[in-house]
Point group: C2
Chain length 326, copies 2
């Protein structure tokens, strides 16, 4: 029986999405236990759900809290307590939709890195024309070095092989030109490391407009660029949604058209949502840690638990450790 | 009488968009001359257009050419010749939809930088909820230093004041967190320079998801991140378009709905196109140089000529020089 530890205080509308996500998950899956971590008053709402244990905490990391500070000031937060439970092997994985920087900082402090890993990375899945492209790092590291990027590539490779079932994932470096001479120093030196290691399936550089074209399964970038990109993508999708809503409201004809096309809009929302995968792993951490978007709904939380289970069952961390110690 | 020099060999479908763009522009504007630069056989197609002079060249810079190499090998290209004509004051501005790196490299070599400017920048306008946000640098520099970013901000400020008519443009630094402590070293040091110079209207950091929200009029970033962002934005819009096309083709009902909503889709295409502004200035060059997207159609070319004229008439470069020598 696997046990997933979940932070009840993470999402913007916590704890409702977390609690309902757990409830729905438990209905579907009879072979997993949950440890829910949150303020004591939440025990009441959790205690009647089967196979769910409750652990009370006194603090919550706010999204505006600085990661370096919470390490000292919020040792009894749901994030810190959840990760300590994981460290003590009370569970097999930890999920939080809270402050990403804090989850990362506590994970490094409490669990440490996998043997051989220089820096952990956050791996996000972007909906491309053929399924997904895994982009990493999308924010674990503000600064990057070539060797980090090389390791991100190898970690991403293992991740998409195992979780997406892609046999020979194509790996690309995100850059500003297709030619070898383009790109910045970081990119040029990373490319040298790729060549030294003779990385199979390394297809070279791709540019920003090619990310969603299905050219590469693993797209490697520094955490600064990756984070800006991830958030910009969200911003564009939001803006497109707002644009259509506003336009449609302008005319009766448009409203009728939109009604006919309702299915298209529903599919669009599905296509761009992070619900289906739910959580992104912190690759390179010595433990199974998953972060969810602050705006996650209960479906995203439920699916994050499922994704975490797959990740644990497929032993992805052990495979990463092996590849990086080769 | 102003004179605009235009490269006829730049767009992906050159010279048709360029020639038609010039024709349409000349019809609308009776007070401007054009010098068109291209292969000799194009003279035939140009010579009957009023107020258009033709200059023949023997070479073309390909989009795959390396900028550093063409400086030596393609001195008689339309880009090099056009910029030399500008340098010799045969015209007031130069427009090209060709290889951006080559236009930049030749501009620096032939025209040089404006006094006081450390690095030129390419300034792109992103459609935000209220008009436009000017994002720079979107690709002139693969590496950036804090002082460059500071200067990009000041150049962008002048640009949006003059060209977009925004009186007190709000300036923001693109980063991965709103707090002062987040971001990478480049961002932190740039912020210090902003504070030293006491930049009025500096609103601090914004994240990727806020770019299109109208929070800032000038958004400063390094050329690597900016270029990835610009191209990713194009990729997302393209993907959204493809998605809708494919979905709509699936059902008769959707097709009817789409017909009703045709106006919405037309407006969407307008909203995301670069046609209206047409060209992006190379800010910081000692001369008026504008680059257009390789995929520009004739409308984009026509509007780029108009934008260039406004830029010249408003003396934007002189104002940039003044601000940066303060």
């Amino acid at each position: 029986l696997r046990t997933i530890i979940i932070d009840l205080l993470g999402t913007d509308r916590a704890p409702d999405p977390e609690i309902r996500g757990v409830e729905e998950f438990i209905k579907e899956n009879r072979r997993t236990k949950i440890i829910a971590v949150g303020f004591p008053e939440l025990e009441e709402r959790i205690k009647n759900i089967e196979r769910v244990e409750f652990v009370g905490v006194s603090e919550k990391v706010e999204s505006s809290d600085k990661p370096a500070e919470v390490l000292k000031t919020k040792k009894n937060s749901s994030i810190a307590v959840g990760l300590r439970l994981l460290k003590e092997k009370r569970g097999d994985g930890f999920i939080s939709a809270g402050n990403t920087g804090a989850v990362l900082a506590f994970s490094i402090k409490i669990l440490g890195r996998l043997n051989g890993v220089k820096r952990p990375a956050i791996c996000a899945l972007f909906p491309s024309t053929h399924g997904y492209a895994a982009v990493l790092d999308v924010g674990a590291n503000a600064e990057s070095r070539p060797i980090f990027l090389y390791q991100f590539a190898r970690m991403g490779e293992v991740f998409v092989k195992e979780i997406l079932g892609i046999k020979d994932p194509k790996i690309a470096l995100l850059s500003i030109g297709e030619e070898e001479t383009k790109g910045n120093e970081l990119i040029k030196k990373t490319r040298e490391i790729f060549e030294e290691h003779n990385v199979k399936n390394f297809i070279g550089h791709i540019e920003g407009n090619e990310i969603l074209k299905g050219k590469a399964d693993v797209i490697v970038t520094d955490g600064f660029t990756g984070n800006v990109l991830l958030k910009f993508g969200e911003g564009v999708v939001e803006r497109v949604g707002d644009f259509f809503k506003k336009e449609i409201s302008k005319s009766f004809l448009y409203k009728i058209g939109a009604l006919f096309m309702k299915g298209v809009f529903v599919d669009f929302r599905k296509e761009v949502s992070y619900e289906e995968i739910g959580g992104a792993p912190l690759l390179g951490i010595n433990g199974n840690v998953f972060i969810c978007h602050g705006r996650s709904n209960y479906i995203a939380i439920k699916n994050a638990i499922k994704t975490a289970l797959r990740y644990i069952e497929l032993n992805v961390n052990e495979k990463i450790r092996k590849v990086l110690s080769e």
